[in-house]
């Protein structure tokens, strides 16, 4: 089983590469277009529908500094396919090099149980959970800005901080009473 390893390759200077995993393959494209405009470091963006990644382009794939799972809450399959992709990641990634991005969280049609499931998953993996608004360009720009912040840290270009340290601050936590039986 081809595990994606965080430290299997040498990083090249002043570049950071990010892997966006989204089964709808919709938001990841617009995010990528914004991310590559970043000028302070060269950002390589790899887009994938799900993991595992095909072996043939293993050799020319740069070292991935951050893996982002984009989950669209309005479709059940989006969460299931993201969860299924997790087992193809080397445990080393879960030290601050994985983050979850959720879209259409505000749409009322989304059942709260699905939101809880994503929150529990992110909390159990100690990784941050970001919310994005994917329909407007401002929403995409803001989401890209947040990802860029985490990417720079996990690529090690930000002095005095590491991915693990940042993830401790930003990791998703569960409200304590979520476990309690609801209502009567």
């Amino acid at each position: 089983m081809s595990l994606l390893k965080p430290f299997s390759k040498l990083p090249n200077i002043n570049t950071a590469s990010i892997l966006l995993v989204e089964s709808e393959e919709h938001l990841q494209q617009s995010l990528a277009d914004v991310l590559v405009e970043e000028s302070s470091i060269t950002v390589n963006v790899r887009l994938a529908k799900s993991l595992p990644l095909p072996k043939e382009n293993d050799k020319d794939r740069p070292r991935i500094d951050l893996v982002v799972f984009i989950i669209n809450l309005s479709s059940e399959q989006s969460f299931i396919s993201a969860e299924a992709s997790l087992k193809y990641l080397d445990p080393g990634y879960f030290l601050g090099k994985v983050c979850f991005m959720v879209t259409s969280a505000r749409s009322a049609a989304v059942p709260t149980e699905r939101m809880d499931a994503v929150r529990k998953l992110a909390a159990s993996l100690h990784s941050p959970l970001l919310f994005a608004e994917h329909q407007t360009s401002e929403g995409v720009a803001a989401a890209a800005e947040r990802l860029l912040g985490i990417l720079k840290v996990s690529a090690g270009v930000v002095p005095m901080t590491t991915a693990l340290y940042l993830s401790n601050l930003t990791r998703c936590t569960l409200p304590t009473d979520i476990e309690q039986p609801s209502f009567d």
Binding site: S23, D33, V45, R46, A48, L53, P54
Partner: protein
């Protein structure tokens, strides 16, 4: 002009869009150019109708002439309801040589034999399509021109398209069609939709199908072109394979506009984690109806985006392949292909 003629004319004028009214009337040829000039087409439809009514009175036009006008309009704007496709089968040897005049006489002769007062108007359109307008009158009353049936047929092609036909009158029309085209029988082609051209293109295969040919032209690549070297799609190859299979199943480019497909499923329930239902004898009866503004393009996008798995299941791909959008699926035929399959594959 009698009353039916008047109200038919009112309805036709109301239906023809204002900007098309002048050309349609000149195309009709029953109104002289001078009279056409005298009509001010910018006024309200109500005033226009009154003016045209007077002109028709002047030219002593009868309801028959007005039906010609309606026919010209319907040929330009055919999508005024649901069109149903029928298929003639087992042609006898004289069928290939039936020509327009023969067909016209035979059809009128047979139909009037089957039902006394019925008014039939047959017109050949430039694209070799024969348009038939039938106004039915039951036993005693005169033909009702307000509820005509329209029939479109290409000679020597075995397909007939019908709209606004009541089930009571269907056997009469079928009989007349069979006798006048010298085929043995006619049956429902299980294809219906609101867009006549789409049904015809689908059955006459006049849309861009995709085959893997020796010099395969590159398929219209999906919208995003990754110009930026820094963005790399990991599973690009499997995405193009999915897109290729989707186009092979449903066709490329703009597809005929079907609105819906209906599947009547009467197959056994099979689910590995539900033993009780799987052992059940009787079939699990349900009806699935897909609807969209352009069904074939929606299904193609399902396949290319991976929502529907590829290769596409024969149930979905047989809509374009067999030119049908109504299926009854049962278990007795292996691979649950449709039970009422037609002799012509």
């Amino acid at each position: 002009m009698n009353d039916p003629g008047k109200c038919l004319l009112k309805r036709v004028i109301r239906r023809i869009p204002a900007n098309m009214l002048k050309t349609t009337l000149s195309h009709w040829g029953r109104v002289s150019d001078a009279q056409l000039q005298s009509v001010d087409f910018t006024t309200s439809k109500w005033a226009l109708t009154e003016k045209l009514l007077n002109i028709c009175e002047e030219n002593e036009l009868t309801v028959k002439h007005v039906t010609e006008l309606e026919m010209i309009h319907v040929i330009d704007y055919p999508n005024l309801g649901m069109w149903y496709a029928f298929q003639l089968f087992d042609p006898d040897d004289a069928a290939p040589s039936v020509d327009m005049t023969q067909f016209k006489e035979q059809f009128k002769f047979h139909l009037s034999k089957l039902m006394r007062n019925v008014s039939v108007k047959i017109k050949k359109h430039t694209d070799e399509a024969i348009w038939i307008r039938v106004a039915w009158g039951d036993g005693f009353s005169r033909p009702n021109h307000m509820k005509p049936t329209y029939v479109v047929h290409h000679l020597q092609s075995s397909y007939v398209f019908v709209t606004r036909l009541t089930s009571k009158l269907k056997p009469l029309l079928s009989q007349a069609l069979v006798l006048s085209t010298r085929y043995q029988g006619i049956k429902d082609a299980n294809l219906s939709g609101r867009n006549l051209a789409a049904l015809r293109n689908l059955l006459m295969r006049q849309y861009q199908q995709v085959f893997s040919t020796k010099f395969s032209t590159p398929l219209a690549e999906k919208s995003e072109n990754i110009s930026n070297p820094q963005i790399e799609r990991e599973q690009a190859e499997s995405a193009t394979k999915r897109h290729q299979m989707a186009c092979e199943a449903f066709g490329d480019g703009v597809l005929p506009q079907l609105q819906s497909a209906v599947y009547k499923l009467e197959t056994k329930f099979r689910d590995h984690n539900n033993k009780t239902m799987t052992d059940r004898e009787e079939p699990f009866k349900c009806i699935v109806k897909f609807t969209s503004t352009n069904l074939l393009e929606s299904l193609r996008h399902c396949a290319s985006s991976g929502i529907a798995s590829t290769p596409v299941t024969p149930l979905l791909s047989s809509v374009p392949v067999k030119g049908r959008n109504y299926f009854v699926i049962t278990d007795n035929v292996p691979g649950s292909s449709s039970q009422t399959n037609r002799p012509q594959k």
